[in-house]
């Protein structure tokens, strides 16, 4: 009994230390935003003497923030919606034809090649290609995000579909359903856990992406996303770091709130569907 007690104590000690390491930077970031420039220069860890709100007011009065928020929401939302319509259906088709059709087998590996190719290979030609097509804007970014998510989505969906029993589908065919109906009514509901996993992964990636918006949207501030807004804000006000911290807090707030509300589903979704072999 004492052995078990000791073991739990050790576990708490390690987990507590890790939690401390995770929380301290966040704590510093948040309390700094409520300090004046002068106060933040002398004390890092103490709570602010008076809740100084001007940092937040200054950022919230900045019209660029609202454009950035709207753009990020639009790009991430539409990309996710398109991913949801296109990828599970494609993976279903690939997964169910792979055994019989050589073409689909080749297609599967063709869709996976991208996993090993670093982004930098595509980066420069991509900018040329998109400016040639006149889509260096939010619409273009959405298209890029969908194309870019293909490898990982197909890899995860096909892997999951291999573990799904085909009896239900065959029963649907016998009952007279066509392929589309079978997919929509039988297969898609079964794919829920893995869809949640992919959506969460891609959603976080879209929301937090820095590189692609940097090379496609960094022209007019009306097309900035939140990360570009933060980056440019930081370079503009690098001296006043209470202000830049306030900017980080506001820019991260939507995704943090989303995480806190959805934490059960997110952790559950990622742990149940993540690796199924």
């Amino acid at each position: 009994m004492t052995g078990k007690w000791m073991k739990n104590l050790l576990i708490y000690a390690f987990l507590g230390f890790g939690a401390f390491l995770i929380l301290v930077p966040l704590y510093i970031c948040i309390i700094t935003t409520f300090k004046t420039e002068a106060e933040s220069a002398i004390s890092f860890f103490t709570l602010p003497k008076s809740f100084y709100l001007n940092n937040y007011i200054e950022i919230l009065e900045n019209p660029k923030l609202y454009y950035a928020f709207g753009n990020t929401l639009l790009v991430a939302g539409v990309s996710l919606a398109c991913n949801f319509v296109i990828m599970p259906a494609m993976s279903f088709a690939v997964s169910r034809s792979m055994q019989d059709s050589k073409y689909f087998r080749v297609l599967y590996y063709f869709l996976l090649i991208g996993i090993f190719i670093p982004f930098q290979v595509r980066m420069m030609p991509l900018v040329k290609l998109m400016s040639g097509l006149g889509i260096l804007n939010q619409r273009g970014l959405i298209i890029l995000y969908i194309a870019q998510a293909t490898c990982e989505s197909v890899f995860l969906y096909v892997g999951f579909l291999a573990t799904v029993n085909k009896n239900l589908e065959e029963a649907a065919y016998i009952d007279g359903a066509n392929t589309f109906q079978t997919y929509l009514k039988v297969v898609l509901p079964l794919m829920k856990p893995i869809i949640a996993t992919v959506m969460i992964r891609e959603g976080l990636a879209y929301w937090n992406d820095f590189m692609l918006p940097l090379i496609t949207l960094n022209r007019s501030w009306k097309s900035w996303t939140l990360t570009i807004f933060q980056y440019n804000f930081q370079s503009e006000f690098s001296v006043d770091y209470s202000l830049s911290f306030a900017c980080f807090v506001i820019a991260s707030l939507p995704i943090v709130i989303f995480y806190i509300i959805m934490q059960k589903q997110i952790i559950g979704g990622l742990t149940s569907g993540a690796v199924k072999e």
Binding site: F44, A147, V256, A274, V275
Partner: protein, 315 residues
């Protein structure tokens, strides 16, 4: 009895399909082929145009001397590649990046497994810990590095001076020998969250009875870990290794916002070098060739690593 138009339509459709099915089996097969084709088409088209095409274009440009701006350029064959292999700068950057990646992969995997084991133990409040430990993955890499940049710059030196440590009393990101470890700390701080969760998922696939049976057979803790835990975690390990490897060899956001490759080029990573060559120094085609060489290295190492874990899995 009045039925909605949708139900009626649906019923008619079903009868139609049933009739078709009884007529011949070929119509179902055709229906399958047609639907599968339609399902694949949009995604395939986008993937080809906006993923594969840029790669093909990149391979072509890498064999020219284009600077990315001028209207004309010459085809130069493999000149860029030959230049890369003769380039001492590239070898130095590659050396740094490999060292960085090895430390990152080792750190992330060990810490990830360790944390997953802790988070999988039956203790009170473990769901709170799980939520907290995944939290860093929710933030953007940019935000995290900008916060740590300020912490390294303004806070750590003061603490270091207070405890009388000479190494920590100045900004470690400005120290040639320590800057890499500063970046690694930030990278692992955020990067370990997802692998931890993946390992946790892997741990949950291990049947409890296996451990009990092993205990009855007199296996100790280390043997149980080696023969049961690790062998069940191998598929996850394979995924985590590939992901971390790629994130290490292609590290960009952290280095760009923490050190910009400094001090004195001590933390220059491959991705940063490619970015600088391509966008700042106008060595457009050369930078693509560098990216392709790196891509081949990543693909090669990943393939070897997957082969290795596959063989282990069989045993």
């Amino acid at each position: 009895m009045k039925r909605g138009w949708f139900c009626q339509l649906h019923a008619i459709g079903r009868v139609g399909i049933n009739m078709r099915n009884t007529k011949n089996k070929h119509s179902l097969l055709n229906d399958k082929k047609l639907t599968y084709g339609l399902f694949v088409l949009p995604g395939f088209a986008m993937y080809c145009c906006f993923f594969i095409l840029p790669i093909v274009l990149g391979i072509y440009y890498s064999m020219t001397d284009w600077n990315g701006i001028s209207p004309t350029y010459n085809f130069t064959g493999l000149t860029n590649y030959i230049k890369i292999f003769a380039d001492k700068g590239f070898r130095k950057v590659l050396g740094f990046n490999i060292k960085y990646t090895v430390l990152l992969v080792a750190g992330t995997t060990c810490l990830g497994i360790f944390l997953a084991l802790l988070l999988n133990s039956k203790i009170k409040g473990r769901s709170i810990f799980r939520t907290l430990y995944f939290f860093p993955a929710v933030l953007s890499m940019l935000t995290v590095s900008l916060i740590f940049n300020q912490i390294f710059y303004r806070i750590i030196p003061v603490l270091g001076a207070a405890v009388g440590s000479k190494t920590f009393s100045s900004n470690i990101l400005a120290n040639k020998n320590l800057a890499m470890y500063g970046i690694l700390f930030v990278h692992i701080w955020q990067g370990v969250a997802l692998p931890t969760l993946l390992f946790l998922a892997g741990l949950q696939t291990i049947p409890e009875e296996l451990y009990e049976a092993a205990s009855l057979d007199g296996a100790n803790v280390i043997q149980k870990f080696r023969y049961i835990t690790i062998s069940y975690l191998l598929p996850t390990l394979s995924v985590v290794l590939v992901l971390t490897l790629k994130s290490g060899l292609m590290v960009f956001d952290y280095i760009k916002s923490l050190t910009e490759g400094g001090p004195g080029g001590a933390t220059q990573s491959i991705a940063l070098m490619i970015y600088n060559h391509g966008f700042v120094q106008n060595k457009y085609s050369y930078s693509i060739a560098e990216a392709i060489v790196t891509g081949v290295i990543i693909a090669g190492v990943s393939a070897i690593q997957i082969k290795f874990t596959e063989r282990k899995k069989v045993q």
